[in-house]
Every structure is written in structure tokens, then in C-alpha cells.
């Protein structure tokens, strides 16, 4: 899979060329007035044209909300509390539903984790895809139908002519996700947002879907935002990665560098929580405690109660996201220590040893 990755991935830093979409200090707020809670607390990120940026985090980190805000699909009660979203030079954060409509599908496409709930159960799959062409691209019934079947073939659905007449529940999970991809890509959007696209799928099907996504992305020159909790998926398919914790970005940079030499203790903890293939059976270095409730985010660095490196400064002073190397940023007061010090992942130098060992 490494062959699909450009040698130098784009990075979510403002220094790069014109980004296709960029968030500036975005705040997403639940409720109003005194009871309002910030669920996303100031996220800035740029997605350069043609790259794949992965947003990684656990439940409640705000990664999915951030993705939904870029489609104007915030759940009821959640509003943009501050900051801005600029898509291709146009601020979109405060558009009305009517103003969003022409952007969705044509400019931005989205794939959800659970394709079954995102498809209309009562409409044949082919008709659902054809509807996109009919309503949005103004094609005639017959032509839309042909294009629908065509796009089903494109995403690798066998026997597409016949399968177009099936209902969503007659499809397996992997096939439904292919239908979602076909729909999301039908109007040739420029940005594809994939929210946990393979989480609900089996390992072997997951591989098929990721491969398909990357192939389609390259064929169309798409820009992609991949929301995921799975560092493995991210490492295989993303150019750069943004790690979120408690509604903030804690680290960003080219995925290969972030995942080999993380610059934030949370990223280090996440990676150590995944069973290490080189030390089977050894105790995992789990991150103690659990992610904070958005209503009671800890003072200073939100991660400090769970951080092995926490000091007094971390309890009082909110760390800013600052550059820690070429195209990299970390929101840790002691980022240099994390990268340079003993917090590195174990044995980054053992590639030869590993292959000789098995």
C-alpha cells in the first residue's frame, strides 16, 4: 500500500499552498447561553488540494463533529460558536441550509460509518444513485439510470445491472459502503469526507474498501479527509494526520513522521495502547483514566490528568499548537522532550532485526 503514497505528503500547516478547505479556530457549541458546552474548542487545520488528511481521536474528541461541520450537517442544537471554515476561498461556516445544498454532492461528498442508516431502505439502490444524477445533474430518467449502473461498476459491484434493482438491506455491509462511495462520488465532488468508512466492516472487506477509496481518489484527483480511530488504517492511507483530544488538535504532521516519532504524549499513549507485534503478551502501556466530559474539561492541558509527563505548568497553562519541526506541530509544553527523549516508540531501528527474526 505504500506505493500509493506520494513521497512527500501535504501537511495541514498554513505554510503550504492554497488549501482546498481550511478551518480557523473553529468552535462547535452545544446549546445556548449559560448551559452551552464547547464540543470542539478551537480547531485549525488546512487540507491541501489532492492530499489525504486523517483526523484521529477517540470517542468525544470532536473529530466526527468537525467532519460534519465541513458538510454543514451539524446535529440539532450544535452551532458554530466561533472561527471559520473556508472552502476554496469561500467562507462556509455560517451558510444556511439552502446555501449548503448546491455545495453538497458537487463540491463535497461524504461517506458515513453506517451505510445502512444513510441509505433509504425503501428505494432501490440504483434509483437512489440515479436520483443524484436526475435531481442534481439534471439528467433524464434513462440516462441517470445508465450512469447509476456505470458508477456501481466503477466501485466494483459485480452484476451491477441486476444489483441496481435491489434494496439496501439485500446488500452486505461492504457492498453498501460501495454504494455509498458511488453516491458520494457521483457528482464528482472535489473533497471527500470519509467518517470511519471501514469501522463497521470485516478486515478483508476493509482492505477492499480502503483500496477502492484510494484508487477512486487518485483517478479523480480528489482531496480526502479520513476520520478514523484506527491508527493502522491511517498509517496505510493518509499523507498527513491530525490527532484530536477533547475538542482540540494536539498534534499534526506527515503521518509517517507522526506515527514513528510522535510529538505529543497522547499520540505516544495511543500508539502504545495498540498491541505491539514485537512484544506479544507483554502488558500494554495503557493510558490511565478516560477522556474528559466536555462539560468539565481539565484546566491547562486537557490531557494532563492522564499524562505521564504532566508537571505544574500543564495544570495551569493551555499549551498552544506550535511548530516542532518541518510541517509538524504539537500542543505540548514539552514536545521537544517527547520527540527527542525516551518517549519514542520502542525500537524504531529494528526493521532488519524483525525481518530476520521470523
Amino acid at each position: 500500500m505504500t506505493d500509493t503514497r506520494p513521497p512527500h505528503g501535504g501537511t495541514p500547516t498554513p505554510t503550504d499552498g492554497a488549501p482546498l478547505i481550511s478551518l480557523t479556530d473553529l468552535r462547535l457549541t452545544l446549546g445556548r447561553g449559560a448551559g452551552a458546552v464547547d464540543l470542539v474548542r478551537g480547531v485549525s487545520l488546512d487540507v491541501p488540494q489532492g492530499t489525504t488528511v486523517a483526523v484521529v481521536g477517540e470517542s468525544g474528541s470532536g473529530k466526527s463533529l468537525t467532519a460534519l461541520s465541513m458538510m454543514g450537517l451539524l446535529p440539532p442544537g450544535v452551532t458554530v460558536g466561533g472561527g471559520d471554515i473556508v472552502f476554496d476561498g469561500t467562507p462556509v461556516a455560517r451558510l444556511t441550509e439552502r446555501e449548503w445544498q448546491p455545495l453538497r454532492g458537487r463540491q463535497l461528498g461524504m461517506i458515513f460509518q453506517d451505510p445502512l442508516s444513510a441509505l433509504n431502505p425503501c428505494i432501490r439502490v440504483g434509483d437512489q444513485i440515479a436520483e443524484m444524477f436526475r435531481l442534481r445533474a439534471g439528467l433524464g430518467r434513462r440516462e441517470a439510470r445508465d450512469r447509476a449502473v456505470e458508477s456501481m461498476v466503477e466501485v466494483g459491484i459485480p452484476d451491477a445491472e441486476r444489483r441496481a434493482r435491489s434494496y439496501p438491506h439485500e446488500f452486505s455491509g461492504g457492498m453498501r459502503q460501495r454504494v455509498m462511495i458511488a453516491m458520494a462520488l457521483s457528482l464528482q465532488p472535489r473533497l471527500l469526507i470519509a467518517d470511519e468508512p471501514t469501522t463497521a466492516l470485516d478486515v478483508t472487506v476493509q482492505a477492499q474498501i480502503m483500496r477502492l477509496l484510494i484508487a477512486r481518489k487518485q483517478a479523480r484527483g480528489l482531496t480526502m479527509i479520513l476520520i478514523s480511530h484506527d491508527l493502522g488504517v491511517v498509517s496505510r492511507s493518509a499523507d498527513s494526520v491530525v490527532v484530536m483530544y477533547a475538542g482540540r488538535v494536539v498534534e499534526s504532521g506527515p503521518s509517517r513522521e507522526v506515527l514513528t516519532r510522535p510529538a505529543h504524549p497522547y499520540t505516544v499513549g495511543l500508539m502504545r495502547s495498540v498491541p505491539d507485534r514485537r512484544r506479544p503478551g507483554a502488558a500494554l502501556e495503557a493510558i490511565p483514566g478516560q477522556p474528559p466530559d466536555p462539560r468539565t474539561v481539565p484546566s491547562g492541558c486537557a490531557f494532563h490528568p492522564r499524562c505521564p509527563m504532566a508537571r505544574d505548568r500543564c495544570r495551569t497553562e493551555v499549551p498552544a499548537l506550535r511548530p516542532v519541526g518541518p510541517a509538524r506541530a504539537s500542543a505540548c509544553h514539552f514536545a521537544d522532550e517527547v520527540v527527542g527523549g525516551g518517549a519514542n516508540l520502542p525500537e524504531t531501528n529494528d526493521a532488519s532485526e524483525v525481518s530476520g527474526h521470523v
Binding site: 478486515v203 478483508t204 498491541p275 506479544p280 495503557a286 524504531t348
Partner: protein, 335 residues
């Protein structure tokens, strides 16, 4: 691997699922588990991996007695749970416990933690005398990393990871010999998952309980299991010591699974080209003739459609069911 006597053995187990029929049709039977043998040694962990629909959950639920076997045996010591009398089954029930996947659905929302943990003692008097219930609840809570002051709370006041701790405490309350974990950490966040995996390890070290660990996550099974069985369409296709099976997989399906599982540090390995299987798991209503995997197999030949391969010894502590088995360490994930 433990040399001790097995606490649980599964012999040639078949389990059927009945599909409810319509008005004019009789319900059809689907064979979800089609002839499976499994040995669970005392104090060890047996992993079962496979994709959804392969029958691994059905197998797990049959072992704990939630589903009746169609044929074959589930032997606890020397007693076959399927044919034993009601009284015997009731007496042996506590020996095999289960931790479920969804911590939000597997605890009775109306009961307090104390009630949840002590309920098994009400059902099976004699395990813990009533006057020691509180002390024992506290001990179990401490064992799973919760505080005794939390025993009056109800499940909704806990997070997912904490609920899974309560589930583990409840299953430990009856002093089981085997705990079946059915995707027990799959619903948890990465950092919480690691906590629970460590807890399971510590509990095993402390109590000597055995685990049957059912999961789709190869990395997790690799981490926790001493031996592993790879399941496909109701049958085991490869079985053996974890380091053997995952280090030098010999069945094409295991190779594909391992090659497809993404890992954080992929680029550090000289990985061969990823095997991407075509198609999806066929319906268990109509499994393919011969080898069940042949429709997706990159090695399939004509003979695979005729003769179903048996699980045969491949290496010491390693069995494979493939006519063209060939160990390939390149796909292994053991260093």
C-alpha cells in the same frame, strides 16, 4: 503453552440456526457451526478469530449454554453439558461465564453494582455466605480496578470501559473456570481497550481462569491468546499455537487476514504485496462444495471443489485445513 489438563473441550460441535419460516414455508436450518473441535487448557487463553458471519459468536454462545448444539459435545471436565441433567447443568453453570461485546447493553440498568455482582450468589447459594457478600463485592471491585464506594451506583453512571470492568467482576463472582469473551473489547476506545486487556491478563494471573477470546481483531488476539483458531464459514481452517499460526500462517485465508490487518508500523516491515480477497463470505445457507474457502481463494484449483480438506497436523502444535497449505512467514505478524 500450558501442559495442564483441559478444563473445557469441544468435540465435533455442530450448531444450527433456525430461520423463521413464512406463512407457507417451514423455517430453514442454517448450519452456523459445522464440526469444530477445541481444547481449552487450564489457565490459558484460546483465541477464535474470523469475520462476521463465520460462526464464532454462535460457537461462543453454545459453549456458555445460550444455544443448544445440534450434535457434538461441550465437555466441562468429563461432563457433557449438552446431555447432562438439568440439575447437573445448573450446578456446573457457574463454571463457564461470559463477557459480552456491548457494555451498554450487557448490564441490567435497573440494578446497582452491588446487586449485579451479588446476584449470582442468590441464584447459587453456597458460593459466598450472605454475611460476606459486601466484603466479597468490595474485593471483586478492587480486583477489576473500581472502588468499593461505587457499589451503590447503577450502570448508566459509568463509562463504557468501567461497565466492562463491572461485567468482568460479575462473571468472576461465581469463580468460573472459563470466561468466554465475545468481542469483549471491540466496542471500546483504543486507550480503554488496552486497560481492559491488561485487566484480563491480571485477572488470569490472579485467579488462574481460562479465556475463550472471540474477536475479529487479529492484533488483540495475537496479544492475549496462547493458542488460536481461525474460523471460516462454520469451520476452523487453521489452529495452533499463536506464535505458530500468526508467525507462519499456512492457510491462504489466514494469510489474507493477516496481510489485510493494518498495523501502525507497516512501513517498517518488508511486507509482501497485500492479499486482497475478492468477494465476500458466502451465505451459510449454501456453503460452497468442497473447501468452503475456495470461492475467494487465490490458490483454488478444481480439486478444491470436490474434496473438503480436513484439519490435519502441519507442524508441531499447528493444524491446517488446506490441500495446498504452505507456510509463509512473510505474512506473519510475529517478530
Amino acid at each position: 503453552m500450558s501442559e495442564s489438563t483441559p478444563v473445557l473441550r469441544v468435540k465435533d460441535l455442530h450448531v444450527d440456526y433456525r430461520l423463521t419460516g413464512g406463512l407457507f414455508s417451514r423455517g430453514r436450518r442454517v448450519r452456523a457451526v459445522a464440526g469444530v473441535d477445541l481444547v481449552v487448557p487450564a489457565g490459558s487463553t484460546v483465541g477464535i478469530v474470523g469475520e462476521s458471519g463465520c460462526g464464532k459468536s454462535t460457537l461462543a454462545r453454545t459453549i456458555v449454554g445460550l444455544l443448544p448444539p445440534a450434535s457434538g459435545q461441550v465437555l466441562l471436565g468429563d461432563v457433557d453439558l449438552a446431555t447432562a441433567s438439568r440439575a447437573t447443568r445448573r450446578r456446573l453453570r457457574p463454571d463457564v461465564q461470559m463477557v459480552f461485546q456491548d457494555p451498554y447493553a450487557s448490564l441490567n440498568p435497573w440494578m446497582t453494582v452491588r446487586d449485579l455482582i451479588s446476584e449470582p450468589w442468590q441464584i447459587h447459594p453456597g458460593i459466598v455466605p450472605r454475611e460476606r457478600w459486601d466484603a466479597e463485592v468490595d474485593r471483586l471491585l478492587e480486583l477489576v480496578g473500581l472502588r468499593s464506594s461505587q457499589r451503590g451506583l447503577r450502570p448508566h453512571q459509568f463509562s463504557g470501559g468501567q461497565r466492562q470492568r463491572i461485567c468482568i467482576a460479575r462473571s468472576l463472582a461465581v469463580r468460573p473456570k472459563v470466561i468466554v469473551c465475545d468481542e469483549a473489547v471491540s466496542a471500546l476506545d483504543v486507550s480503554i481497550r488496552a486497560q481492559i486487556l491488561n485487566l484480563l491478563r491480571d485477572v488470569q494471573a490472579e485467579t488462574g481462569v481460562s479465556y475463550v477470546f472471540v474477536s475479529h481483531d487479529l492484533g488483540v488476539v495475537r496479544h492475549i491468546a496462547d493458542s488460536v483458531a481461525v474460523m471460516y464459514l462454520g469451520r476452523f481452517v487453521e489452529q495452533g499455537r499463536t506464535d505458530e499460526v500468526f508467525g507462519a500462517p499456512a492457510h491462504p485465508y489466514t494469510q489474507a487476514l493477516l496481510s489485510a490487518a493494518p498495523a501502525v508500523d507497516d512501513w517498517r516491515h518488508d511486507r509482501p504485496e497485500e492479499i486482497v480477497l475478492g468477494g465476500e463470505v458466502p451465505s451459510p445457507l449454501a456453503p460452497p462444495s468442497g473447501c468452503r474457502f475456495r470461492t475467494r481463494c487465490f490458490k483454488a484449483r478444481d480439486s478444491c471443489a470436490q474434496i473438503e480438506p480436513e484439519l490435519t497436523d502441519w507442524a508441531a502444535g499447528h493444524q491446517v485445513a488446506c490441500h495446498f497449505a504452505e507456510a509463509d512467514a512473510r505474512y506473519g505478524i510475529v517478530g
